[in-house]
Amino acid sequence: MNYDPFVLPLCIGVIILAATLAYKYLYWILTLSNADKFKILKGLFSFRFFKACKEVFLESLVHRKVFKVNPLLGYMHMSFALGWLLLILGGTVESKIHSHRPFNAPYEPVFFKFFNHDISMYPWADEFQLLMDVLLLFVLSGLVLAIIKRIYSRFFGMKKTTKLRLGDRAALMTLWLIFPLRFLSESFTSGIYHNGGFLTDGAGRMFATFLPLHNLSYISWWAYSFALGIFFLALPYSRYMHIFTEVILIFLRNFGIRNCKVYNSFSAVEVHSCSRCGICIDKCQLLTSARIRDTQSVYFLQDVRNNTVREDKAYDCMLCGRCQEFCPVGINLNNIRISKRFDFTPGNKNFEYISQKIEKTAPVIYFAGCMTHLTPSIKLAMEGIFRASETDYIFLDKDGTICCGRPLMMAGEILKAHQLIEKNSKLIKDSGAKTLVTSCPICLKVFKEDYLLNIEVIHHTQFILRLAEEGKITLNKSDLKAVYHDPCELGRGCNVYKEPRQLLNKLVDLQSIKNEAEYSLCCGSSLGGLQLNSVQRDHIRIDTLAALQKPEHDLLVTACPLCKKTLSKGADSEVKDIAEVVWMGMKG
């Protein structure tokens, strides 16, 4: 067996890493709820397992989603992940073929060139030299990009990259050293024994002309081993924990486990899966419009990991979900934020004094929402549409009612929200309705997500479209040019993108805009942003309006009373809810 004391740092590092990871992952999986554990068990023996494997390859290794957002950044991540894995696999196969044994010391592939000076005596030796050097070059090219990104993030089209903590810095420095040291060790050795490929042997011959390689090569193998060992030791306490945790996350997610606004070990897996690519930073309007630089999801997750979440930071987020849409790991950032807000809530309150009864039953129940009551033209339009379509409905909150609970939910007041949810659920159940229609996407989100209603819950855009398709109302198309602003809670929140557009295409000449659908900007009034002042909100609104002003249009249409109210302030054109546009056409 080949052995030299310099292999010890690597071996110690790997053993401690393996033990730490095993402990953490087992702990997280064992503390999942029984239902979730059962899902894992079922998932392991189903088709989902293979789906997860495919996703691990595409996301953890190739980094497809990072590629989609930023190709240069994607290449950087891929070169490290895929390049390193292939180096390990290639090296392992090479060393096993070389030694003619299926089992050899695990460090042997890593230090193959140190122990084996004659490289011509095994099959495909030349091909292996070529392959290993190409892979090393691949990783080194990624490293060059990583260094450029750290120094000059604009090169990546990113305005800002992540800030580092001490643990990250240690891991980052050693990670950056690993591959140059590998290159130097192999080159130095090849300079003496000519056992390298095109890259290492070429460099080795060059180094041999002016460097004392006999002394240097041994030292560099020690340094290489130390770099690896320290990196593996620091890994669980650094952002590189994401390398392994993302794999676990992908499996758990494929097995059907979801984040549900209560911080649990699945949330912990999500938090540790963040690679801190920093894509969320530039997408955050709090940065781009309000110049708030320290609350973006990547920093928040870092605080969650380090147990240093501060109240003001927990609340300094609009929960608009834009970062989540761009997150290559697909972490449910909004729910994690809400789950942490819960820690700062003052406790429960008794809402027993609220009582309301349902007077009649009807197939449709309409919940306008408080914001719709503050924009009465939407309410009047909906009442008109209900009348014209001869819909038999109950106007649940005609005369003031119990809040839907979403504002409390966004504030992290989950217990209070559930009291209201219970009260409203009873009313809705008593109504005998089969369909719940809301005008406010904020209400819609909580009705869909947190109420366990056994009836259809839809937004008025979906309801109106259905009425039109069933011929119960007639839509009149005008030649007005219009742009559509996707409300956060309707689009990203409830995945309703199609119906508003189908409806608008029947009503106006709909123009397409730059940040549409899932990438739409927040109007700035989000109820989630509890830390924002009116000036910061104004900055966001003004920038969003500026983005909406192109192309030219007569009408700015949205589907949320809060967006409507916000955007009306300072818009060049008239701002209307879709319901108003429909009703305007019906009235003639």
Binding site: L374, G400, S534
Partner: protein, 351 residues
């Protein structure tokens, strides 16, 4: 020596009064007014607080000044350009006419806050929601005050601070005149509709002017106007087109709902479209609230960042009529000092 020339932009109270004084000092004064008649917003107010004298009396006083001092008045003047080249100002109108001067008085005034922006109050949506300006128009018409359906209202609420002191609409300042206008209009409503109940929904009552407090007391004691401290949250309409208002009575500490036959919104002042347009043409600075900015709050009122341009009246800040008069005369004096070569800037030891 040739007479020095002054252009006064805006023929409301401040423009008319400044023009009168400058002309009486011997300057060649041109007054540009966008409408066909001089008087500005004052033409729309029937009686003035706190004395209840007629608005048209004041218009008459102002007009006499214009006639006596021989101000050159240009009506229906739509300004398309205003520039300063060297020491000379050139103002171009839409009809192609050009006017030159050595100084300019900005008296472009205010616009009323567009109550439709406060959609939850239902202006433009519910027929019986009107603004304080609409109510004045009704008073001016001399006809009885009736609801949209032609009935005599039994209960009327007046909402203070609509578009003022309201971060949500972006106006954080107090418009100064609305509180006392509400008190005045409450009394007028009480006097013109026997037996009507009048409610004022206010945040604070800012009775800063001489005799304002007396008027407020009179409204409570003599006319039994109800003052409720609380901001209106929303209004909605009943089947019979009466209005339900929801407000928190913050003194009683409980929510209040009531039905009224008419809701009057006390709309505040915003910088007029003309103030913004001409201000930008001349390169004037605007303050954080969007009104024209004077060089110093205490010592340099009426003086702007462009030498030779002076501001008078409500284009600089919301003001009641008596203050506008004083301000217009002050602008005339500072303009005259400038034209005679007195450099007030020398007195500033700060920048």
């Amino acid at each position: 020596m040739k007479k020095k020339r002054v252009i006064v932009i805006g023929g409301g109270i401040s423009g008319m009064e400044a023009a009168t004084h400058l002309a009486s000092m011997g300057y060649d004064v041109t007054l540009l007014e966008k409408d066909k008649e001089l008087g500005g917003h004052l033409l729309g107010w029937e009686k003035l607080f706190p004395t209840m004298r007629m608005g048209k009396d004041v218009v008459e006083f102002l007009n006499k000044g214009i006639t006596l001092s021989k101000v050159n008045v240009i009506r229906k003047a739509e300004i398309v350009n205003a520039v300063k080249t060297g020491e000379i100002f050139t103002v171009t109108l839409a009809n192609g006419n050009k006017f030159e001067s050595d100084a300019v008085i900005m008296a472009t005034g205010y616009d009323l806050f567009d109550a439709r922006k406060k959609e939850e109050y239902g202006y433009g949506i519910y027929d019986n929601v009107i603004t304080s300006a609409d109510l004045e128009e009704k008073f001016l018409s001399g006809k009885p005050i009736l609801t949209s359906k032609g009935n005599v209202p039994k209960k009327i609420a007046l909402v203070h601070c609509v578009g003022s002191r309201d971060e949500k609409v972006g106006n954080v300042y107090c418009s100064k005149v609305c509180c006392v206008t509400a008190v005045k209009q409450s009394i007028e409503l009480k006097e013109s509709i026997p037996g009507v109940d009048v409610y004022c929904l206010y945040m604070d009552l800012r009775m800063f002017g001489m005799h304002f407090e007396t008027l407020y007391k009179e409204a409570q004691e003599k006319h039994a106007v109800n003052f409720i401290r609380g901001r209106l949250s929303e209004a909605c309409e009943n089947q019979d087109s009466s209005i339900i208002v929801k407000v928190e009575d913050t003194l009683a500490g409980k929510p209040l709902r009531m039905t009224v036959d008419m809701l009057v919104l006390m709309v505040g002042m915003v910088p007029s479209a003309g103030t913004v347009k001409v201000g930008k043409m001349l390169g004037l600075k605007f303050g954080p609230n969007g009104f024209l900015k004077s060089m110093d709050q205490h010592t340099m009122g009426t003086i702007t960042n462009i030498p030779g341009v002076f501001i008078a009246g409500t284009c600089a800040a919301p003001r009641p009529i008596n203050n506008v008069f004083v301000d217009a005369r002050a602008a005339a004096i500072t303009a005259s000092s400038y034209l005679e070569g007195y450099d007030i800037e020398k007195r500033i030891s700060y920048s």
